[in-house]
């Protein structure tokens, strides 16, 4: 299949941090901000900006709760996010097979 026939890669997910966030959330029900920060090895500001972008696009849902007096921010993948992620992986595999 020629490359120009393949759909373009989703620009929202075509960023290292955002792809990492969505990949982690694809395997769990929800994950806290600190968990994502720890696993992605990024800064608070960078992670916040990328979470905001994903939330604006409707790919993730941000949940704010309290554990005692401590605020906890968690993220969860939405149905739109799940579909976008699986399409992204599918397209990526097609590109990979084509280039191989």
């Amino acid at each position: 299949m020629p490359e120009n026939v393949l759909p373009p890669l989703d620009p929202v997910l075509h960023s290292r941090v955002r792809l990492g966030i969505v990949s982690i959330l694809a395997g769990v029900k929800e994950a806290t901000f600190s968990f994502l920060k720890e696993k992605l090895g990024t800064t608070d500001g960078n992670l916040s900006a990328n979470i905001n972008k994903l939330e604006t696009e409707g790919y993730i849902e941000v949940i704010k709760t309290f554990q005692g007096k401590k605020p906890v921010t968690s993220c969860r993948l939405t149905e739109k996010g799940k579909t976008a992620f699986s399409q992204y992986v599918e397209t990526l595999e097609q590109y990979y097979l084509l280039k191989k």
Binding site: L19, G27, F35
Partner: protein
């Protein structure tokens, strides 16, 4: 973009998904504590029987149940607060543990209290519920040892039907050691192995 970039992206996604597999074997402590408590309760029951203090047997079981429930509530809350990620496996595990706890309560306390059956049937029915708990957990963890422990509990429940009623509770002790304490210690090693892998 070259095929190397695409491959790197795929590897990155796989690595991130692996990262999300946080420890799910943290329930080993519940197994261990409940197993040890039940052994103590059985031994205390035999001491009470040998001293002809039959009227205190119910108190023995209620006391150990209260200790176990208090521990479960405190430790469960601690585990929940420490968890940074919620998995679907955790959700399934919680439902299975809650269902089994209710099963133990109904078969061990409520039904005998309502005279649905005699006390001699309790160890057999408890062993059946314990077998369900360990077998389902084995299925969720994809772990043959836990599944085998479930089969041991069910075999034990069947064998207990042929053991004299007065000795059934004692027969329970080796079953707890094999079907509860052994998987608890195995879950413990899995827990620390997963923890070191995720570190």
């Amino acid at each position: 973009m070259s095929s190397t970039n695409f491959e790197q992206d795929i590897q990155y996604i796989k690595a991130m998904i692996r990262q999300s597999r946080e420890v799910t074997a943290g329930s080993w402590m519940f197994f261990l504590v409940w197993g040890v408590l039940v052994i103590f309760a059985i031994v205390a029951q035999y001491v009470l029987v040998s001293l002809a203090m039959y009227h205190l047997i119910w108190l023995d079981w209620v006391a150990f149940a209260v200790i176990g429930l208090s521990f479960s509530m405190i430790y469960g809350r601690k585990l929940k607060n420490e968890k940074k990620v919620k998995t679907y496996l955790d959700q399934a595990m919680s439902a299975v543990i809650l269902a089994s706890a209710l099963g133990f309560l109904l078969t061990g306390f409520i039904f005998p209290y309502l005279n649905l059956y005699g006390w001699e049937a309790i160890p057999v029915l408890i062993a059946m519920v314990a077998g369900m708990l360990t077998f389902i957990m084995g299925g969720l963890f994809e772990w043959k040892l836990l599944k085998a422990c479930g089969l041991i509990w069910w075999a034990g429940a069947l064998i207990m039907c042929f053991v004299p009623a007065g000795l059934r509770s004692l027969f329970f002790i080796p079953l707890i050691l094999i079907g509860y304490i052994w998987p608890a210690l195995s879950l413990r090693s899995l827990y620390y192995k997963q923890k070191s892998q995720n570190a």
